[in-house]
Symmetry: C2
Subunit: 227 residues, 2 copies
């Protein structure tokens, strides 16, 4: 249901190529919860951005819901993005508006009433423990609070696919467990497909399957030398 | 040698006060390595910014090297900041210049030759594993690579005090261990004073002492209800 076929991503640093992804065959079934681990700089964010249709591969193909995303017109692409909740490694919150508005904005693509939208935003921010911080703008929030707004924004969409790039790097153990509980519910109770990059081996245990990205290549078992 | 006396920090959210710090008495001896743990939003970054003279308390006093920092003139303040290496929770790298230049810039406050400076930058970026990424700008680096540039920038100063706000949130276990080794060396071999905020209990074990910040108050033992 989500698949990459021999995907490569190369950046040019002046004349020097940087091979961020070196031929990735990766597939995730509907309703699966996959964790991606790997060293810093190994290509994880690059891969997730390709899967989320936020970037295009240098070579190879990316399929979501069976569709080759390079063949989608802009309307189909927009339709697709409505089914993907993306949590960025550095959040990408809108700086000068409140946490509440940041989450509400992502819901504007959904066909729901204004009062229904506000209900969902309030609930989801409460679910991540931010009920007393809804009016704060990002620069009036702690690091882990900003991270939780980014998570709330993705969850509010109730997306088919939840793509998360290191969603708990800035929170304490208890807050992390609260977030993992939400994600597990989405997966076990609602059958949502989850692809999560994490450095936390503890969180990775919650998943159905762990994949390892090392130096632009994917492994199902942890490669001996480094993880 | 570093001390806060009944320090308070209150933000105004419209008419509503947010008590980020509620009377903190915190002191660190020369050469000590202290870890600060606590829930997301508890006031840790706020406290570290006060200690690093990057912010002023609403009430109370902050002392560094025995000096009340509110009584320093701007020249003395600048002198002080040269002795403090600060690693920000979100790095604060300069966007359009290379990793190398980002680190080199922080050394411009030191009275050393250009060639000496370049030697130090090269060494420190190699120490954090970024020898092949020195020419990349921040947006051409992975999250954990950016975090390491921020660390390199603080370490390059060879500062008396190293203040670190969650320095390993975006890196894998092996990279984390490499960073911790560097920090331990600074403390054990060179006697530098280290104050580190972290959510990682494993890292905290390396320290001489752990303090817990919960809801704006400091505890020496983990408070029962939440950590
Ligand atoms: N625009 C770019 N130009 C050149 N190299 C790049 C660019 N963007 C990323 N890279 C390189 O591609 C590699 C993969 O980056 P990516 O962000 O996918 O790593 P990652 O696995 O997410 O790392 P981390 O765990 O630190 O977040 C890195 O080595 C990085 O330096
Ligand atoms: N400018 C501001 N206006 C209002 N409230 C603020 C402001 N800056 C911070 N706060 C609040 O102060 C509290 C402490 O923030 P701080 O950044 O110190 O937390 P923290 O312990 O570092 O959290 P984290 O572990 O998530 O990084 C938070 O609840 C935050 O919402
Ligand atoms: Mg990344
Ligand atoms: Mg913080």
């Amino acid at each position: 249901v989500v698949k990459t076929e021999n995907v490569e991503k190369t950046y040019m640093q002046g004349k020097i190529p940087v091979h961020a992804l070196r031929g990735i065959d990766f597939s995730v079934e509907e309703g699966e919860y996959v964790a991606i681990l790997g060293p810093s700089g190994s290509g994880k964010s690059t891969l997730l951005n390709l899967i989320g249709a936020l970037d295009v591969p240098t070579k190879g193909k990316v399929f979501i819901s069976g569709q080759d995303i390079s063949e989608l017109n802009s309307r189909k692409r927009a339709e697709l993005r409505r089914t993907i909740g993306f949590v960025f490694q550095f959040y990408n919150l809108i700086p000068r508006i409140s946490a509440f508005k940041n989450v509400e904005l992502s819901l504007s693509v959904k066909n729901i009433s204004r009062s229904e939208r506000k209900k969902i935003v309030k609930k989801i921010l409460t679910d991540v423990g931010l009920q007393d911080r809804m009016k704060h703008a990002p620069n009036e929030l702690s690091g882990g609070q900003q991270q939780r707004v980014a998570i709330a924004r993705a969850l509010a969409l109730d997306p088919t696919y939840l793509l998360m790039d290191e969603p708990t790097g800035n929170v304490d153990t208890k807050t992390r467990d609260m977030i993992m509980k939400l994600i597990n519910q989405l997966n076990k109770e609602k059958g949502r497909t989850i692809i999560m990059i994490t450095h936390d081996q503890f969180i990775a245990k919650d998943s159905d399957r762990i994949e390892y990205l090392v130096d632009g290549k994917l492994y199902h078992k942890p490669p001996k030398e480094r993880i």
